[in-house]
Point group: C2
Chain length 398, copies 2
């Protein structure tokens, strides 16, 4: 069969061309949708991220070309549209979740370990191993604004860890080699002002409490943690949980645990011990240890469900196929799950009804109902690691 | 001058018409934008709401036809796109913030006092004075699913106040005439299951703590508040702050204060006293009064900045032209502001750098920097009252 096309005059052709162009323009403008239920899943081996939504539990898009995403971290613009992806290779990529594409990208360091966004959403800050320090960027354009080299002695730059945004355009972070906590005020983003506080041997990561008041750095070089009260920084750093492993034989450490603000549940902080099969429970009113909960293996992430009733724990290699759930009232493990091989990360939905779990070596993300602990969905994903939802935009310390 | 139009053939006309239609379709699809920085301002006298954004601090749209918006409350869909506006006349309007228009609207009762959304975002629940009870709707379609009449004795229905969403698809609320707290489980939304707890005389409003654990109802008929531990509801209601005004002469009450979860700052709850010029400070660990802060007049809203360092207070008529800021560490008033006449409500941006304040009788909304307490912007608004940001979607008890 042959289709006979009508012969068109020039004005007709113009009109048809115009219509076609408009149609193309329309199709590139996606249907309106909210961003409150969106997130990114890091697909490390492919240098890409999946844009996901937590209402229907589906993948909306795949964004490629993000470089080395080992240990990648994501922070969000205050409107929830853009995710800032910090890659290990120093790449900082601004991903547009609504259009499912890269908006901007810079390579800002040789070796980077994450970043954060200022309280007002105007500044993105990267924390770097090499060259050691923090760098400050305009959140819209990624234009570099300033940097704070972590030069703790002439010619010596430290790796920076545990960066956290604070109220008042400030950022706190720890210096591994220097054994210090620094607090930088970026009220004038081109003129950073930094205060230094001695902290202890080899801080390896840190957290700020959800209210932005207490900054706590874990110490690798000694038993204990370093606490700085940001309402009273003049009092300096105080050691807490000093010597919690005293006299015990340390186990080999397969992976350093992570510390973030979600470890705080109600009046207590739940912290992974280093090289021990324990979660430490600390009273946030006096920062004393009140309990230790024995767990399956060496904990990596210890995360409280948003209501603080449960704490979920994953583990270091080679025991990383399991997840445990602690009931915070009885302080005991109430469930052991096996989501798949190499459970690297998890993220709760903002109000905690579900948790998304990455099982890297089974190439999937598993979504659980946190109350029944039954799987709600599985999404195929290419070697997934970190999972980050846009609700982080509304919180301090993420 | 005369413009000569070319004579068009039928196909030409069709093409032009098509182009025009497509252009119209395009223009009705707004440019993509995130919803994390959006909100609604109630313009009560006009039965309308303003769609605002907190990054550039501007009004994006005005949505009309919402009926009687006295005491209107807004809760948000989990994606942040839709606001559910509960009007006093029983109207429940689903407003599309991205398109700036009404998506759906039902009139569900004769006299309503607000509503809430379930943890999973699928159910919207209205609390009603007349007929007294709660009604449950599908959040997408507003289809009615079920109701719980507040019939506390045969033929007697109570007004419902203080509705709060809880983890696990549950809702807690108080019954004014019945003097009870009810907890309804909507896991099966067409088959509500309700537990009743005696609470005390005339509960007038309530709050749930941000973790969803403690439900606290203020009592108008007696000095004190009713506390229900939702982790242990079998223990029943416990009275706290009993007799806090004992022996003192009550003042006339010009407006009942409001209670919501934002009253909790760190380890303390900050509660408006009824008919007294005081804010009560309660330790959330043992629920004892630890201090009273004298304030300008009878407090109405007592709201903690998200980091808990400040508590902002507005006041009942005729002293409602002032706002006071309490420093939570020193427990004293550190600032008194005069934003305009009839300061009815305020709302913090999610991370607390700014607060939006409505000054009804000056037809404006004033935005303050919470640290410097200097005004950042003023937006004209027609008799503004409540201000509600989409970040409420990610929180329990809003």
């Amino acid at each position: 069969m042959t289709i006979r096309l009508p012969r068109l005059s020039l004005p007709q052709l113009c009109a048809v061309a115009l219509a076609t162009l408009l149609l193309a323009a329309c199709s590139s403008t996606p249907a309106p949708r909210g961003t409150g239920d969106l997130g990114l899943v890091i697909e490390r081996a492919s240098g890409q991220v999946a844009v996901v939504e937590t209402t229907g539990r589906s993948r909306l898009a795949t964004v490629q070309g993000l470089g080395d995403l080992s240990h990648a971290h994501v922070t969000y613009s205050r409107d929830g549209r853009y995710g800032y992806v910090f890659g290990r290779d120093g790449g900082l990529t601004k991903v547009d979740l609504l259009l499912g594409r890269i908006d901007r990208r810079v390579v800002q360091a040789g070796n980077s370990i994450g970043g954060s966004i200022s309280q007002d959403g105007r500044l993105v800050v990267a924390q770097n191993y090499d060259p050691g320090g923090i760098r400050v960027f305009d959140a819209d354009t990624l234009e570099p604004l300033s940097e704070v080299p972590a030069e703790y002695a002439p010619g010596f730059r430290s790796k920076v860890v545990g960066l956290a945004d604070l109220p008042g355009q400030r950022f706190a972070y720890a210096l591994f080699e220097a054994g210090e906590i620094w607090v930088t005020d970026l009220s004038d983003p081109r003129q950073p002002r930094t205060q230094r506080y001695p902290a202890g041997r080899q801080p390896y990561d840190a957290l700020v409490t959800p209210d932005g008041r207490h900054f706590i750095a874990g110490l690798f070089g000694e038993d204990g943690l370093a606490l700085l009260d940001l309402w009273h920084p003049e009092q300096g750093v105080r050691k807490i949980l000093s010597g919690y492993g005293r006299g015990e034989q340390p186990l080999p450490v397969y992976k350093m645990p992570h510390l973030r603000g979600w470890a705080v549940a109600g009046d207590y902080a739940w912290l992974p011990a280093i090289g021990r099969h324990e979660v430490l429970v600390v009273d946030t009113r006096d920062w004393r240890e009140v309990a230790r909960v024995p767990v399956h293996s060496q904990p990596v992430f210890v995360m409280a469900r948003p209501d603080g009733r449960q704490v979920w724990v994953n583990f270091a290699f080679p025991d990383n196929g399991k997840l445990q759930v602690i009931d915070t009232e009885s302080r005991s493990v109430v469930e052991t799950l096996e989501p798949g091989r190499a459970v690297l990360h998890m993220e709760f939905t903002p109000r905690g009804e579900a948790v998304w779990v990455s099982a890297r070596d089974d190439d999937k993300v598993v979504v659980y109902d946190t109350e029944t602990r039954r799987p709600l969905a599985e999404l195929p994903a290419a070697k997934p690691s970190g999972i980050f939802f846009t609700s982080r935009a509304a919180r301090t310390g993420f």
